[in-house]
Symmetry: C2
Subunit: 408 residues, 2 copies
């Protein structure tokens, strides 16, 4: 077992070979390096917000510090927050969760790891979206599972998930389904009929579901739906909830796992083992977020809608770019196949570099959300408009348009 | 693979059968329930602090919120905090860490899970202290390793770890050693000669070490030593650092892994996967903690020393109780074998319940820090004096003394 001579060549555990990352952070670093050199950067790459956390949340957290909430708190979170989350999530989904169904987490992301650690054995197959949030694939492999991708297809007016692909790939080893309806990066949403079909498959094949609902409350029109609301699904879904997006609290790191009590109890025991509890006093801010005046999130959504519309206008006026209009998330997922070809680029990455170097517009592409699947012949970008002002959108995407036009 | 009919009998992953917990939380709940019934409780069970976080830390965090530090931050933590930690930890240990050796974490505890995930393969043997922090044993088993306990023995003036037990139990499958010098619960510290012997074993058997230094800066006299300071050990040790104890920041959830860069890089990739980053703005508070006036921690240590001495005086005046004087941690680990016998109790748990019911003094015993090992015939309590006032100590331990005397 002499696996190394020094730490410089230390032998990591075998599972580390399966560990992925979020390559978006490499794009961030690259953009930051260019900015340091004096280049004007238009940051469309990161799903972060350049909008302040509402003041009432800050004030409630500060009061909690002054009130001595700087000690450990219960492993599953403070009772007031578990109650408020159960009530809020139940109301929006027509369900009846109580505090016992809620385990507060230091962010939404920890729910992914804890869901897999609780329910996935080595060799179990897990269906996950590709394109999709890259951490699903990474952690399935890291914890010994088999990651089975299903995809999304572009329709005439929306993206939709490949239901046949899900059904076709279910085997006796399939145990879990990861669903990210209100989807990052495509902003796709299932129709009620599609959700029913998913529920049928879940019941027929005895699956459990991670329902990543990070963007459930981030929408411009209509109402979000949760798979958990369908008959039989409450007992088979663990909802990933986060305060990050709705309340502009990305850096606060607060979220929750919400689902059947026996599963939530194990997840809370993982809290005991992995981090004891989330930060104590920010949970009082989160209670204020859920129970007080909602003008903060409303104003944020109005701001985001304005940005979305400006971006859509410029993108769809650019030759070789076509972008559908999503009603949820703060991402656009334009099809840029024509522009990639007209600029003579040989793929996603060369197009990304061309645009970044020529215009300073920094974004992710389809390849930052998983490896390309067999038969893919279209090119897509993911533009996050959560961290750029309307003026930056006009200027940056204007430069992008001029660049593409110069090739036509 | 039909493993359940509903979530009520959901089948957890097999690893969940190996997941332990901190039974101290059960003691907390029990004490809280008695308090609700009107009983006066003297809380010696939990290693939490009833001392406010120093004001400069609160102020720096608040300024960071106002300054927009509510967004994501780099996965390894903000550069200023990594620099400050590298400098502080290096100075205290005579080492030369830089920011690249530091990965900031949402608490000290996450370092345990990430160390094991990075370095332990299924079947690897890991030496860990018993009595000791119960999470070591739990997570070694949960992630598929084999937990091999070594113990501590009571000497005439101090507890010392069983070096022969470590040496005797090393096999070709032994890969990792968990060392918690400045030890919870016994407050034991290795002598320089003992640390040298550990370093020899580590080199001879090609081990890597988790050096849990949570209490490194919590001491009343003398200077702490780190195994990492010994020749060859910097490259083989990952230090668990926490702000929880030194700065009365338990509920802030902030710590760090500090060690060889190749290992730290993997741990930071685990940050990307598991929680993105620690809370952003509290890291500015931590920079203030490390770089500004240290009167807060100094006053805290003076307060704790006063409590320690009062507690020691009463314990050592109680028949059948003998307690050594530790210069570190905020725990006392009295030998209560005589008192257990004089009260007619048949073990740790019945003695704990007798005292709790008769006096309201709530504490943990040896059994909250691991299963009893073969040949153990002494009884020990762990009394945390971090969360009780001097008046509570006098009153509570006074009642304990009176109770024990009534049996003699």
């Amino acid at each position: 077992m002499n696996r190394r001579a020094s730490a410089a060549d230390f032998a990591a555990a075998q599972r580390v070979a399966h560990l992925g990352t979020e390559t978006v952070f490499a794009v961030s670093s690259e953009a930051a390096a260019l900015a340091v050199q004096g280049k004007t950067i238009y940051p469309f790459h990161l799903g972060d917000l350049n909008i302040a956390t509402p003041e009432n949340i800050v004030e409630a957290s500060l009061r909690a510090i002054r009130d001595g909430k700087t000690t450990y708190c219960p492993n599953a979170g403070i009772p007031q927050l578990r109650d408020a989350l159960a009530e809020d999530v139940s109301r929006a989904r027509g369900l009846d969760y109580t505090a016992g169904n809620v385990s507060v987490q230091p962010g939404g992301k920890p729910v992914i790891a804890k869901f897999l650690l609780t329910l996935m054995d080595p060799g179990d197959e897990v269906l996950y979206p590709n394109p999709g949030f890259p951490i699903y694939d990474s952690l399935i492999g890291f914890f010994g599972g088999v990651a089975v991708p299903y995809t999304y297809a572009e329709g005439s007016d929306r993206f939709h998930l490949d239901l046949d692909g899900i059904a076709r790939q279910i085997t006796p080893r399939t145990r879990l389904l990861i669903l990210n309806d209100l989807h990052n990066p495509t902003a796709a949403e299932c129709t009620p009929v599609e959700l029913e079909r998913i529920a049928e498959l879940v019941l027929e094949h005895d699956l459990l579901v991670l329902s990543d609902e990070a963007y459930f409350d981030v929408r411009f029109a209509g109402a979000s739906r949760s798979l958990a609301s369908l008959p039989g699904m409450r007992e088979r879904c663990v909802i990933l909830y986060t305060f990050s997006k709705k309340y502009a609290m990305t850096g606060w790191r607060l979220g929750a796992a919400i689902g059947p009590k026996p599963i939530i109890d194990v997840i809370t025991t993982l809290n005991v083992n992995i981090e004891s509890c989330p930060n104590h006093f920010v949970q009082y801010g989160a209670v204020a977020a859920l129970t007080e005046d909602q003008s903060g999130p409303r104003e944020m959504m109005a701001t985001l809608k304005g940005r979305r519309d400006v971006a859509l206008g410029i993108l769809n006026a650019t030759p070789g770019i076509n972008c559908l209009t999503p009603e949820t998330t703060f991402y656009l997922y334009p099809n840029v196949t024509g522009a990639v070809k007209s600029t003579g680029c040989d793929g996603h990455e060369s197009f990304r570099r061309l645009v970044l170097d020529a215009t300073g517009v920094s974004f992710c592409t389809r390849l930052h959300f998983g490896h390309a699947l067999e038969g893919e012949d279209q090119y897509y970008l993911r533009l996050a408009y959560s961290g750029v002002s309307t003026a930056q959108i006009q200027e940056g995407l204007g430069k992008l348009k001029t660049l593409i036009e110069s090739y036509n």
